[in-house]
């Protein structure tokens, strides 16, 4: 039954496979490589991919493969936690706006419009510049600047669900607003929210990589796909592997996550 469905929805299956593979790599990173990601080996500076270092080494002789593996931990962590923050905010604010309507709705939705007016990237850049760049700060700031889409989706869902008879039925038996929202409305609104969250994950991963690339993200020596790329910039002419493989890792991850999201959306539409 499940296999039949998976076969029908190719997009979802491919996406799921990619995301699962990356997830497993991140979890079992120490088991998959012999090298520490931060271990410097002066004898192996900038060696090209070989049987010893399958993806080569960087300018400090660190193994690229293990750096990428450990970097995926950062990416997934950012993806999951930032999206968790933004989804939670979107759910709460969207549900309140949709359920109560009136001036509360107007106020919250104007706030959403206001947030959408900011050029998010520059907002993130300036906030990070003021605070110190750290993984926690990045996750929080990405979360706090990307909840608006989810809020809008939740609000729209709740507006249409609110008129359904089972919600009226819940009111008639005296269920409290909190109970109606959390037990009756939100579970029925989750489909599109999950899709939006997964697509949001791709965005969060990209933002983290670019911040790290700009030096405002995860600080060396902790590896992240973005800061591996900065190092690669200097040696672009001699060490092609240092740009190709992190680039590919980002590309495949974003592709996988997007496919998973789109696949879910196809399902959700049925």
């Amino acid at each position: 039954m499940i296999f039949k469905e998976l076969k029908r929805n190719r997009l979802f299956s491919f996406g799921l496979a990619i995301v699962l593979a990356i997830g497993l790599c991140a979890i079992f990173a120490p088991l998959l490589t012999r090298y520490q990601p931060e271990a410097i080996d002066v004898n192996e500076i900038l060696s090209s991919p070989s049987s010893k270092h399958i993806l080569g080494t960087d300018s400090l002789g660190r193994d690229l493969f293990s750096r990428l593996l450990f970097g995926s931990r950062v990416s997934l962590k950012v993806g999951i936690i930032a999206v968790g923050i933004s989804t939670l905010m979107g759910l709460i604010l969207g549900a309140i706006a949709g359920f109560y309507g009136g001036w509360i709705d107007s106020l919250l939705m104007r706030f959403v419009d206001l947030m959408l007016c900011f050029p998010t990237y520059f907002l993130i850049l300036s906030v990070i510049a003021i605070l110190e760049p750290s993984l926690a700060n990045i996750m929080i700031i990405i979360g706090l600047t990307s909840w608006m889409g989810v809020a809008r989706i939740v609000r729209a869902q709740i507006l249409s669900l609110k008129e359904r008879e089972f919600i009226q039925a819940a009111k008639v038996i005296g269920a409290s607003d909190l109970r109606i929202i959390t037990l009756h409305l939100l579970p029925n609104a989750m489909g599109p929210v999950i899709v939006a969250a997964i697509l949001g994950m791709a965005y969060a991963i990209l933002v983290e990589s670019s911040l790290s690339f700009l030096g405002l993200g995860v600080q060396p020596p902790t590896p992240s796909w973005g800061n591996i790329l900065i190092d690669a910039k200097a040696t672009l002419g001699v060490a092609w592997w240092l740009t190709l493989f992190p680039g590919l890792a980002i590309f495949i991850t974003i592709l996988g996550v997007n496919m998973l999201g789109e696949g879910l959306r196809n399902w959700e539409k049925q």
Binding site: E165, F166, Q168, A169, A170, V172, I173, G174, A175, N188
Partner: protein, 308 residues
Amino acid sequence: MSEVLFELSGIKKYYYIAKNFFSKEKIEVKAVDEVSFFLKPATTLAIVGESGCGKTTLAKIILKLIVASSGIVRFGSQISDLRKDIQLVFQNPYQSLNPLMRIKDILNEPLLIHNVAKNRENRIKELLELVGIDPNNRFRFPSEFSGGQRQRISIARALATEPKLIILDEPVSSLDVKTQLQILNLLKDLQKRLNLSYLLITHNLSIVKNFSDYLLVMYLGKILEKAPPGDIFNKPIHPYSESLILSAIEKRSKLKGEIPRFKEIYGCIFNTRCPYSQNKCFKIRPELEELCPSHFAACHFPLNLKRS
């Protein structure tokens, strides 16, 4: 006089809608206009009318789901907690049950909120038995049941808090004939066993004849006739009741045109469709009067009546 369950007096609900997209001018829509009636314990009152006559609005006002523009709803001593003592059964059993909840959770909810049962598990089984559903099915989801069974589950949910009054909003009109009969029989049976009162809202005259003790005929937010259903069926006083009966039973209609919407009507509100309308009907609005013993109608030229 004996006790009443609830009493409505002078209930009005007006809505205002924009005349068109560009203008600020508003049209007043009288969803419910000057409606008064009361309901005695352990009886059934039926409200009959076509779509847009305000019958569902009235139910929502009684349940305080919406607020009336003016008028008073007074509850008798039997009704102390509105959300516990009055329940509602909806028309569409496919929409009135949360699709993501199991039957036992749907029935558990009112028990939990009002804390009315010592052993909730037992009470759920008891409720399902009461409406003729095998209690072993309580772990299933609504989608696994047929329309008639779902309507039984909605009734079970309504019964959970041991209400005094159940408002039935078109309880059978989305069901097949045989299922309609079963559900109505179940409701009748439950009324006898549990001493319930019903407020039945329907457009289908044929089911109210013997099901109800008292019948209100509504049109465009106003009561046009009220009497025991037998009296209305045998000798309708208002031309509208007459034509409702004719169309339901003989598929024949004497009426002109359609229900006027969003229009200001002077005089009798039924004058645009009435086959007997005369000059007076376009000038003076008739009041609801007792034209026969316990038989009220709002008409200048009542039918089936020998005026003394």
